[in-house]
């Protein structure tokens, strides 16, 4: 006899302690797929199938109510798509086949992780690009500063005489201060 599992997720009761509330809301934020899952009663034959259903409906985006996953959406089309995901899992289709099915109908938008292709290269590597630009600028500044430190400072001509005068002035005032202290 196969044990029938449901994808039902129960929200646990919690007491009024604020600490517990805080802990639970942190949990709720970190596990969006679990804590806001819509309650469908799909039956699976194996735990594996149920796990795949969970992860697929967390990774696929609801096309109607944007920024919610299929599992978190109450939208009509999300309900239909969850049913399709369940049907395809039960028919033995692989995750890739199911993703392809969704892609052919709803495009890149359906994936929270869009596929890597020319149109999505900037999306994937844009942050890396900005990081590299920042790193290059940083390294350049650092190297320039190092070079400046390493070079001896050569002062000549007009600036040299002005500098000498300033140093002499400084020494004098120091000497005066020393004398008045004694």
């Amino acid at each position: 006899m196969s044990s029938h599992l449901t994808s039902q997720v129960r929200l646990r009761k919690f007491s009024g302690f604020s600490f517990l509330c805080l802990a639970l809301s942190i949990l709720a934020v970190s596990l969006p797929g679990l804590s806001f899952a819509q309650v469908d009663t799909f039956e699976f034959e194996t735990q594996e199938q149920q796990k795949r259903f969970r992860s697929l409906s967390d990774e696929l985006r609801c096309p109607m109510c944007q920024n919610t996953s299929l599992s978190g959406s109450t939208g009509g089309v999300a309900e239909d798509l969850r049913r399709e995901v369940h049907r395809m899992i039960m028919e033995g289709m692989s995750d890739e086949q199911i993703e392809q099915f969704m892609y052919e109908r709803y495009g890149d938008f359906i994936f929270y992780k869009p596929r890597l292709k020319p149109e999505t290269i900037l999306l994937w590597f844009g942050p890396l690009l900005f990081f590299l630009i920042g790193a290059i600028v940083l390294v350049n500044i650092w190297r320039k500063a190092k070079k400046m430190d390493a070079e001896p400072v050569v002062v000549t001509g007009d600036s040299k005489s002005r500098l000498d005068a300033l140093i002499a002035e400084h020494d004098r005032s120091k000497a005066v201060a020393k004398n008045s202290n004694e």
Binding site: P63, M64, Q66, G75, G76, V77, D80, L81, E84, Y103, E104, R105, Y106, G107, F109, I133, N140, K144
Partner: protein, 178 residues
Amino acid sequence: MNRSLAFLPVAAFVILALVMWRGLYLDSKELPSMLIDKPMPAFDLTTVDGTSVTNDSLPSEPFLLNVWGSYCLPCLVEHPTFMRLSESGEIPIVGVNYRDQKALALNWLEDNGNPYAFSILDEPGRFGIDLGVYGAPETYLVDSKGVIRYRHVSVLDETVWREVFEPAIAELRAEEAE
């Protein structure tokens, strides 16, 4: 170091600002359809009045495919436009009754008028998935070979008709007349 490099951050800022400026005016709700220039998905269903329909039942000239439901308020907003189009015989309109109930759909057509050559009954929303529908109303422009040429999401009112559909249909008819 090269002095012109000093303008690099300014240039980067300007480019980024332009991209984001454009982003402000993009409608993120309007997703591109994956079915543009693809044939309409195969179907073997019934109409809301129970006659069976397949791809062969589709008009053999350019037509509109309108996704509607009796629960859908924006559909009522665009309905007068479809009524006018069907009365003047401007272009055939095929309906897809999406995620609705047959009885409610029939009532709705009786109350508001029926601009459709026929309405494909899609109670479970399965045909809608094949079309890449994400909610009524949506309207597709399909050519005489059954290839989807354009999709409009949300209300197709007189303004959208005049500014988008009329020119697109004229272009399509000119292309097919060649």
